[in-house]
């Protein structure tokens, strides 16, 4: 059944996943070329000094990308389930309901993780050719909350989509907006030094929220 669920999700989302992966991979040459261009204009030593002195993060354009990816993936995965009432059928499959939802979410999270890991490791490997380990570590640490925001945005979008009542969807959306804004308030690379474990805990806690909507859906809550 696991294979069948993953295959169903793959058929539904394959083009979107290819698009997300393409955008993430396309950002890599852009960021690397932009860095090389800055090196040519300012000189490597000067740019290193500026990065150290002013805490400049030259990959900050990536900040909202994981969040948008998570949001779009959640919408594309679960809006069809709700609009075509497929979720009702899905939950009637001869398979534990919780596990069905878990596997659907795992597919989404796994897809995001593959995109993030592939693009992230490639980007940082390329950057490490022209930047010292200390800058790479700093930027990697600074980008962790962005990726966590991507995963959390996906889970919260799933929660909002499955919710059967529009009034509650609005409340869920406001709650999600406020919660996600906590992930993206940093202006310096070290601002989230102490908060990253808290953000991770929030992301893990959010994993159970979609089940709240599933409970309500199963109870037949409607407008």
């Amino acid at each position: 059944m696991t294979k069948a669920i993953f295959y169903k999700e793959w058929i539904k989302l394959r083009w979107l996943l290819v698009s997300i992966a393409t955008i993430f991979l396309a950002m890599i040459p852009y960021l690397v070329l932009s860095l090389q261009s800055k090196f040519r204009f300012a000189g490597k030593a000067h740019l290193w000094s500026v990065i150290a002195e002013k805490d400049v993060n030259l990959i900050s354009q990536l900040q909202y990308l994981p969040l948008v990816a998570g949001l779009i993936l959640g919408l594309f995965q679960f809006i069809p389930e709700m609009s075509k009432r497929s979720l009702k059928l899905t939950l009637h499959l001869p398979h534990p309901e919780k596990l069905t939802i878990v596997k659907m979410i795992l597919f989404g999270l796994g897809s995001l993780a593959i995109s993030f890991l592939l693009s992230g490791s490639l980007l940082f490997s390329l950057l490490s050719l022209s930047l010292p380990p200390t800058i790479i570590t700093t930027w990697l640490t600074a980008s962790l909350p962005w990726y966590l925001a991507g995963f959390t945005a996906y889970i919260l979008t799933v929660w909002i989509c499955i919710e059967p009542s529009w009034k509650r969807r609005l409340i869920n959306a406001l709650f999600s907006g406020a919660l996600l804004s906590v992930f993206l308030r940093a202006s310096g690379s070290f601002d989230y030094t102490y908060a990253t474990p808290i953000l991770l805990a929030i992301g893990l806690l959010a994993l159970i929220f979609p089940f709240y909507s599933v409970f309500r859906f199963k109870e037949g809550v409607s407008e």
């Binding site: 000094s49 990065i51 534990p96 906590v182 310096g188 030094t193 309500r216 109870e219």
Partner: protein, 418 residues
Amino acid sequence: MITKKNIQAILIVLTTALLYWILPWAIKLMTNEALDYPFTYYSSINNQFIQTVFDGKEMKRVDLEGREYNQDEYDSIVPMFNYRQLMQDGRLPDTIKGVAINPKQIQLNQFFFRCTPRNYNSCSVNLYPMYESMSGRVSLESPDDLFSIDHRIRFYEAETNKLKQDKSRLFQTAMEKRGFQFPVQWIAGNLSARKPYDEGWFMLDADGQLFQVKMVNGKPFVKNTKAGEKIDIVWMKTIETANHRLYGFVFDRQQNVYFLSDVNYELVKLPIDSFDLKKDRMLIMANLFYWNVTVTRPHQRDLYILDNNDLNRADEHTEFHEPNQWEKIQPWIFPCYIELKSYHSTYIFPRFIGWSAKAVLTNGLAVILMIGLLWWRKKQRFSLIQLAYIMLTGVIGAIAVWCFKEKQQETKNIIQLK
């Protein structure tokens, strides 16, 4: 156990926390005002504090006895702060307090030093330039490498992004030879090349000893300042002064402030009351006669006037902070509130502040009234646990409970998920 009630409880608690952050933030945004302390400088002519106050219409310059001065009078009685204006007007006196003065001498003795809790409660990229301290040039030249330091000191060449083995080893050996114990605790200095001169870096080693490390004629210069033997150093902020009188200000665990003199690294204690690095901010405006030391604490501002020669306290003045709109209303509305960002730190994390018993009382009354009304109109019913939660968290808790409250018809068919 993932049950509907458990998830609902988590959602209510998280919503309460978010509201305890967002609502106070919004109210503060609507009511925030500038800090009300006026700019104050000590007159070396009549030995009085002179304040520049904006009364809503115009700037007024007054002393603490209420005497008002016009702009020209102000320039004359605060000559150390306005010497360039006095020079332009041809009014710079020849002598003050019997001391013959000239612009060069004023400039040599003048410096400004600012220290905020954000300077202390922050972190920077572990990458620093090691300037040539004796280049013989007027302006400093940026090196082609930068170093990082933790358990070792490593120099990286920017052009090739390669570790400079020889230079790294040279500095590592020199530091170890001088008794530097790795790993370094912190490093203080000025990264900028736009400084009048370079004194390298001050580093606190694993044993709490303060070392000066710089590069002189391409070779490492490492010296133990011995300051760590006299005091328990917490932090240091460096400064470059025109007269090279000091390296920087050193703060110890007992909340004392010292300056590190350029004469044998002598530590000179500032005669001010305790200084809390985590909360207090300091501004020093030094001139030929006095150091104007302003320490702004959470609820008051202390001004200390120190004699420039012997650093004895010559005068002092304390002003108390008038609570702003937010500080007046918060204790009555919120039993506490959450701040993610702080004026005292660059780090973002939830801080529970502003604890107030008054708000528990007012919230309790408001909640009783609200629940009574809803009960009477039979619109909402709350369980005992929910009531206790609302009593504890106030109106914000009530909003959170209302947001995730299930209607009767919504829960009549309880379905267990398999």
